[in-house]
């Protein structure tokens, strides 16, 4: 397990170096995500411990946003002053996105797709992956 924590921190550090040196205009964790995916794709196998670590941590991913979310208290006046544009943009924008994406994807996207049968236990895996 320690090995897997080290693996995650290694790619995160590479991402941080790339971001700080101005090499990539990407948030460090996203670079880390891409590099970890690339490593797994090359290995063609997911180490068991890494899967367990991801399931455990991602289960409470939603908790990790709480401190930053609380910071919005400092901007309550801004939120109140711009409540109308913010609410219309979030609700209206999301409705438009849902409609446009669903219409285009169903018209142009479904031609050659096929559904793979699921392995037992895969639904549980998915449920664990879900988070904010």
């Amino acid at each position: 397990m320690l090995e897997q924590i080290a693996r995650v921190m290694f790619w995160l550090c590479v991402g941080e170096i790339a971001a700080r040196s101005g090499l990539l205009p990407l948030p460090a964790p996203v670079t880390g995500l891409i590099l970890l995916y690339a490593e797994l794709a090359v290995r063609k196998k997911l180490p068991d411990d890494l899967g367990i670590l991801a399931d455990r941590v991602l289960q409470f991913l939603g908790m990790l946003f709480v401190p930053a979310g609380v910071g919005v208290i400092a901007y309550l006046d801004l939120l109140k002053a711009e409540a109308v544009p913010i609410l219309v943009a979030v609700i209206g924008g999301t409705a438009i996105t849902l409609l446009v994406t669903a219409m285009i994807a169903s018209r142009l996207g479904s031609a050659r797709a096929k559904i793979e049968p699921r392995k037992p236990g895969e639904l549980e895996e998915l449920a664990r992956d879900v988070s904010t």
């Binding site: 880390g32 970890l36 997911l46």
Partner: protein, 241 residues
């Protein structure tokens, strides 16, 4: 007496420097929020993150603790976000077979949904006279929160505002997604799931999983790919403008 008060001072000084209380409060608030959410049948409106933010904010209000003190202490939890986002590679890797089998649908969905998600929000906010900072904070609203905060920082938005907007977007998508799919007469669970993941990230994915497992799988996929691609494209576009 003075020895005792000196001792109390020391204890409090120690607590103030260590993030124990703030971290503990955050964990307990989130645990309570998860319980409340479960009691309500995990309804999207009872989002645990939003409930926990409200609980902590009320606590800060009641105890008159400056929120900066809380933020400094709760930094331990905020830090974990980085490694957690890297770990999102794992669910994405597990779904590589699905990506290959439905490549065309996924590419079309992303090509339509990614720009629409950004432009619709930015366009509406701009037309209604929102400030530039608010518009920039809104731009990554459809992206999963861990990635969205990074993008927001990169393009000059407010991270903390982005978090709240991301959660609001997720709740909206989770509530409206199935309704809009019904109105547009779209019943392919792959399309519905992918759409909800692209438009409303993890909160939409949790709702898509309640429709069925295929919708859930495509939603998780839409969320992950939309997050990574937006992180690559949005800062680039902002730089060019």
């Amino acid at each position: 007496m003075s020895a005792l008060s000196h001792l109390t001072d020391l204890t409090w000084a120690g607590l103030a420097e260590k993030p124990v209380l703030e971290t503990g409060a955050t964990v307990f608030a989130f645990l309570a929020a998860t319980r409340i959410s479960r009691l309500g049948g995990n309804h999207p409106l009872l989002n645990p993150t939003l409930l926990a933010i409200i609980l902590i904010s009320l606590g800060i209000e009641a105890t008159h603790i400056p929120y900066e003190t809380y933020l400094r202490g709760a930094n331990t939890i905020h830090f974990m976000l980085g490694p957690a986002v890297v770990l999102l590679a794992v669910p994405l890797f597990r779904q590589r077979a699905t990506i290959r089998a439905s490549g065309r649908l996924i590419v079309v969905g992303l090509a339509a949904g990614l720009p629409t998600g950004i432009l619709s929000a930015v366009g509406i906010a701009w037309a209604l006279g929102a400030s530039p900072q608010t518009i920039l904070s809104l731009a990554p609203k459809s992206v999963t929160a861990g990635i969205a905060v990074g993008i927001s920082e990169q393009i000059g938005g407010l991270q903390t505002l982005t978090i709240v907007l991301v959660i609001m977007t997720g709740i909206t998508g989770a509530v409206l997604g199935p309704i809009i799919a019904r109105l547009a007469r779209i019943d392919d669970p792959r399309v519905v799931g992918l759409t909800m993941g692209i438009a409303s990230h993890g909160i939409g994915t949790a709702r898509a999983l309640q429709i069925n497992e295929v919708a859930g799988a495509f939603s998780g996929l839409g969320m992950g790919l939309n997050g990574v691609l937006t992180a690559i494209l949005l800062p680039l576009v902002c730089k060019l403008l």
